[in-house]
């Protein structure tokens, strides 16, 4: 579905310096697969997400979705950011409808879909509330609805739970898996949290930094549906240990 073929991205800083954010990344993501990108800060995982979203163009290689090269943002991708960044002047419903409105595709079926999505994430009855009246977790749920409102095949998530407290984070992790089970999508999920990545993903793509490249791709063998009790299982332990080793080079994995 999503194919990255020897993709590289070099940024030019203000001082005219060339900085390689990503170099020679090749990756194939299957339809309705859940893939997590983990790696230290500055390993280019957010850049990778923006390349797939068509928000930045690669300086080398090729990104394609369904065989077509990505040259600009496409209708079949939706993005969730780390901060919910809802519009403070719009109601929750209007926030969810905002992408449709910006694409000039707002119609009755879109409205119905937005209400369905809000119900799916447990925000029925909050349609006419304003973002400041909602908790951070509820705002991020609305942010997920906003990314899904145009019914994209691909959901790109850039540390979507990074700004939430630990409990809300676990709650939304379970919630996301439920949403994905009910409405299968291809999900590319960027995170700093190794347990989160292993619990969510079919495959965990571990990236190394400067320049960002794929260190290894780990298959997670845990059965679905998953929950936090599975953290005790050996498949989970093996996958997280291997990920840690790759990121820290085996040095700090057993520091404590």
């Amino acid at each position: 579905m999503i194919v990255l073929d020897h993709v590289a991205k070099t940024f030019v800083t203000r001082g005219g310096e060339q900085v390689a954010a990503i170099s020679d990344v090749s990756l194939e993501v299957r339809r309705n697969e859940f893939v997590c990108l983990v790696g230290a800060s500055g390993c280019g995982k957010s850049t990778l997400l923006r390349l797939v979203a068509g928000l930045v163009a690669p300086t080398g290689g090729r990104v394609s979705i369904g065989g077509a090269t990505v040259t600009e943002p496409r209708d079949d991708t939706g993005i969730v950011f780390q901060a919910p960044t809802l519009l403070p002047w719009a109601s929750i419903l209007d926030n969810v409808l905002f992408p449709l409105d910006m694409m000039r595709k707002l119609d009755a079926s879109g409205r119905a879909r937005a209400r369905d999505l809000l119900a799916l994430v447990g925000l029925s009855g909050f349609e006419s509330k304003y973002p400041r009246e909602l908790s951070g977790g509820m705002q991020q749920r609305a942010g997920i609805c906003r990314a899904l409102v145009h019914d994209p095949d691909i959901l790109l998530m850039d540390e979507p739970f990074g700004a939430l407290d630990a409990l809300t984070r676990e709650e939304l992790t379970i919630e996301l898996m439920r949403i994905w089970q009910e409405r299968p999508k291809t999900i590319l999920f960027v995170t700093h949290s190794i347990p989160e990545a292993v619990l969510l993903a079919d495959r965990v793509v571990v990236m190394s930094a400067r320049p960002g490249r794929v260190a290894e791709i780990i298959d997670v063998e845990l059965p679905r549906p998953r929950d936090f009790d599975m953290e005790a299982r050996s498949e989970f332990q093996d996958a997280t240990r291997r990920t840690r080793e790759l990121i820290f080079g085996g040095r700090s994995a057993r520091a404590n």
Binding site: I79, F81, L87, P88, W89, P99, D101, M102, M103, R146
Partner: protein, 268 residues
């Protein structure tokens, strides 16, 4: 959310009452002290008139004073309107490209470095002895902070929202209209609050230099004829005018952009 329970509501009312009552009480005490000191020390009215003298002398000329007040209000509002109409597109232009910003900014700073009092007589020569030079001076005094706050608002949009707009392939124009400008509303209002206060200053400067009406004109002529209490009356009316116009801006924000109030607190 559900309506606040009664005791909390009552407490809120009590707090609101205190918020109004305390400054009013302080003001009354201040005026009484002023009156008492003037009487006790026999301060001559041409130096500092007592509040009672200001009141009676101004009231005696209530008709003409009202005309002067209306004239000043008109200049203030026209100048304020002009600064809003000019600042909005100007801020959009400045934020649109670094080249435009580099070209326009030095010119803006230049207009601000010219003393407006010095410019006013020259404007009268250019524009004639009428309302126009007063409005232009008012505008020149008021518009700069407004341009700065609108520009700050337009550029303060979280990058994620801009990316969201781009992901929806929205045009630059639509991005400005649907994301950047609404996001700038709290900033625009903090600029408008500064601009309305400065507009009163600008109008008076304009009237000092060239006018046959207005509270600034009234201050110049009444002090020339040693009608000092009347000049003080004009001063009081000017501050009242400033307060009322400022509150009008606050009310417009509360009524039309209630969501902006919370974020506004962070921008001031």
């Amino acid at each position: 959310m559900a309506a606040a329970p009664e005791p909390i509501k009552k407490r809120r009312h009590a707090r609101l009452a205190a918020d109004i009552a305390q400054p009013v009480a302080a003001l009354i005490i201040f005026v009484i002290l002023w009156e008492l000191i003037c009487r006790a020390f026999h301060v001559p009215a041409y130096l500092v008139p007592a509040p009672s003298a200001i009141w009676t002398d101004t009231l005696k000329l209530a008709g003409p004073v009202a005309v002067h007040t209306l004239a000043t209000t008109q200049t203030v509002l026209l100048g304020f309107l002009a600064s809003l109409i000019v600042s909005l597109p100007l801020a959009v232009l400045i934020t649109a490209s670094p080249t435009i910003a580099n070209t326009v900014y030095p010119l803006l700073v230049l207009t601000q470095s010219i003393p407006k009092v010095a410019l006013a007589p020259i404007l009268v020569v250019i524009l004639g002895s009428n309302e126009l030079p007063r409005v232009v001076v008012t505008f020149l005094v008021a518009f700069f902070p407004l341009v700065l706050s609108i520009a700050a608002g337009i550029t303060a949009v979280p990058p994620e929202l801009i990316e969201l707009g781009r992901a929806c392939r929205a045009s630059k124009w639509r991005e400005l209209w649907r994301i950047r400008l609404p996001y700038a509303v709290p900033f625009i209002f903090s600029g408008l609050k500064a601009a309305i206060t400065l507009s009163v200053v600008g109008a008076v400067v304009g009237e000092f230099v060239n006018a046959d009406r207005g509270l600034g004109y009234l201050i110049v002529t009444s002090t020339a004829f040693f009608q000092v209490p009347l000049a003080w009356g004009a001063l009081v009316l000017l501050s009242l005018l400033g307060i009322i116009l400022f509150q009008a801006v606050v009310i417009v924000e509360q009524v039309f952009f209630p969501w902006a109030i919370d974020s506004d607190k962070q921008t001031i």
